[in-house]
């Protein structure tokens, strides 16, 4: 791959917890187009540190699109405007020399800013903790084929389980709703026999927790599904709605 270098201007949101934030402008110079977006920020931070300034705080871990740590709004789109791509997997070849980019943290009432581009997404963990699990006996792993599961159910559950909890759906939603995330976490169990015993209580508890944490109400605008780096589909939201309605008639735990 030919080495190409580009120069960019970045307008980055800088904020300390509990204080007002503001945009600051930085130059990102001589950036290799094979670098990822986070590597580009590393270069900028290197220069900031060398000139005695505070580096830009951003969250990251795996840098291979599987952990859900990274994420920011780049030029108005969550994780940038590439489909099904996390910020760490967005590459600088997606940009042109001379581009000016605005970089902001994911914003929602339920996601307070911790610092710069880092937001507190523990509200998503709370939703999962309230029901996004199956109660099983631990011990050695059971033989996989003891519980038969139809292939299309297994596939759909697997699609739902692809959610990495990055929060882009919430950040992209005009209502700050967490329906896509919650629907993925409910669906991955609702589709499988292992999820059956806690089916009714799970959906009730998770929706209840979601509501209490200050997420908005879904108005079926589908911005979430465009934003999702894992391609979680709105069919899971339809399923969440069905599960919630059916929980009225299903037997209690």
């Amino acid at each position: 791959m030919a080495d190409k270098k580009i120069n960019l201007t970045l307008n980055v949101w800088r904020q300390q917890a509990g204080q007002e934030g503001a945009f600051e402008t930085y130059k990102a110079e001589n950036i290799d187009t094979n670098a990822s977006f986070l590597e580009m920020l590393d270069v900028v931070n290197e220069n900031l540190t060398c000139s005695g300034k505070e580096p830009i705080a951003f969250e990251h871990d795996c840098r291979e699109g599987i952990c859900g740590s990274c994420g920011a709004l780049v030029a108005g789109m969550t994780h940038g405007s590439h489909d099904r791509t996390t910020l760490c997997q967005l590459h600088m070849r997606s940009f042109e020399d001379g581009d000016e980019l605005t970089i902001e943290p994911f914003r929602a009432d339920a996601f307070p800013v911790i610092k710069d581009l880092i937001v507190d997404r523990s509200a998503l963990d709370e939703i999962v903790a309230s029901g996004g699990y199956v109660s099983v006996k631990t011990g050695s792993a059971p033989e996989a084929s003891t519980i038969p599961i139809e292939k299309n159910f297994a596939d759909s559950a697997m699609d739902a389980a692809a959610c990495i909890g990055c929060g882009a759906c919430v950040a992209a939603c005009p209502n700050g709703a967490a329906m896509l995330f919650t629907s993925a976490k409910v669906s991955q169990f609702a589709l499988l026999p292992q999820g059956a015993p806690e089916r009714a209580s799970r959906v009730k508890e998770m929706v209840d927790t979601m509501d209490k944490l200050g997420f908005g109400n879904c108005s079926n605008e589908y911005e979430c599904a465009v934003a999702c780096p894992k391609g979680i589909d709105v069919k899971h939201i339809a399923r969440l709605n069905r599960e919630f309605i059916a929980s009225r008639t299903r037997k209690k735990k």
């Binding site: 945009f23 709004l73 030029a75 108005g76 789109m77 405007s81 605005t102 902001e104 914003r107 929602a108 009432d109 339920a110 992209a172 939603c173 005009p174 209502n175 700050g176 709703a177 329906m179 009730k204 929706v207 209840d208 979601m210 509501d211 200050g214 997420f215 908005g216 109400n217 879904c218 108005s219 079926n220 605008e221 589908y222 911005e223 599904a225 465009v226 589909d233 709105v234 069919k235 939201i237 339809a238 399923r239 969440l240 709605n241 069905r242 919630f244 309605i245 929980s247 009225r248």
Partner: protein
């Protein structure tokens, strides 16, 4: 989870919105459109329709009470969720692209508010309006046809206002119909959805059918 908590949860409120909206759509908007179409077939048919409707007073009053309940629930929940949504997404981005959100979806609270304003104007103009009498098959009946005609004739501004409000109805329905289905758990896909297309065409069809009556009345 008791019934109140169920209905006041985020999904429960959406179900209330969808149900009250669907009731208004099925029991008010569709029959009303059907009746209005008769206007196009001249005074006798339209006046006799209005006359027969008056004979069904108990049913009409029943439906009116149901409408009053539906619109109250619809507006209270719509105001409540719109307010909560504004708050949940109150920290605005300086730059926010959107690739999926339709104009109709964006304008829901506004088109809804316009429908409400229209219903008030409309009732004042036609329901609680002095009507003259005319003869039909040897009976004396209210000249509803003449009232509609006289209201729109020579008043282009008034015709324009009606058409403007019908655009709001069309916008509201085009998002609302498919959104209600997704709320009930019927999967409405993101792109290439037949349900979305049907929702849009029903909305356009209904809005233009309503809008054509003032135009015809003006031209008569």
């Amino acid at each position: 989870m008791n019934s109140t908590r169920f209905l006041l949860s985020s999904i429960g409120q959406k179900l209330l919105l969808a149900t009250s909206g669907t009731i208004m759509f099925l029991l008010f908007l569709i029959p009303h459109m059907g009746g209005n179409v008769l206007f196009l077939f001249g005074p006798d048919l339209f006046n006799s329709y209005a006359h027969h409707l008056h004979k069904l007073v108990p049913i009409v009053i029943g439906i009116e009470i149901l409408m009053l309940a539906s619109i109250s629930v619809h507006m209270i929940i719509a105001a409540k969720t719109t307010w909560a949504n504004r708050k949940a997404a109150s920290s605005r981005y300086s730059q926010k692209g959107s690739r999926e959100r339709s104009l109709a979806a964006r304008l829901m609270p506004w088109s809804g508010g316009m429908i409400f304003a229209f219903i008030i104007i409309h009732l004042a103009n036609f329901k609680f309006y002095e009507k003259s009498k005319t003869m039909l098959d040897g009976h004396e009946v209210y000249d509803v046809y003449g009232m509609v005609l006289s209201r729109f004739q020579g008043d282009l501004w008034y015709v324009g206002v009606y058409i403007f409000f019908m655009i709001a109805v069309g916008l509201h329905l085009s998002h609302a119909l498919q959104s209600a289905l997704q709320t009930y758990g019927v999967y409405v896909p993101r792109s290439g959805s037949k349900i979305k297309a049907a929702s849009m065409w029903i909305a356009i069809g209904m809005a233009s059918t309503f809008a054509i009556i003032p135009i015809i009345a003006y031209l008569k």
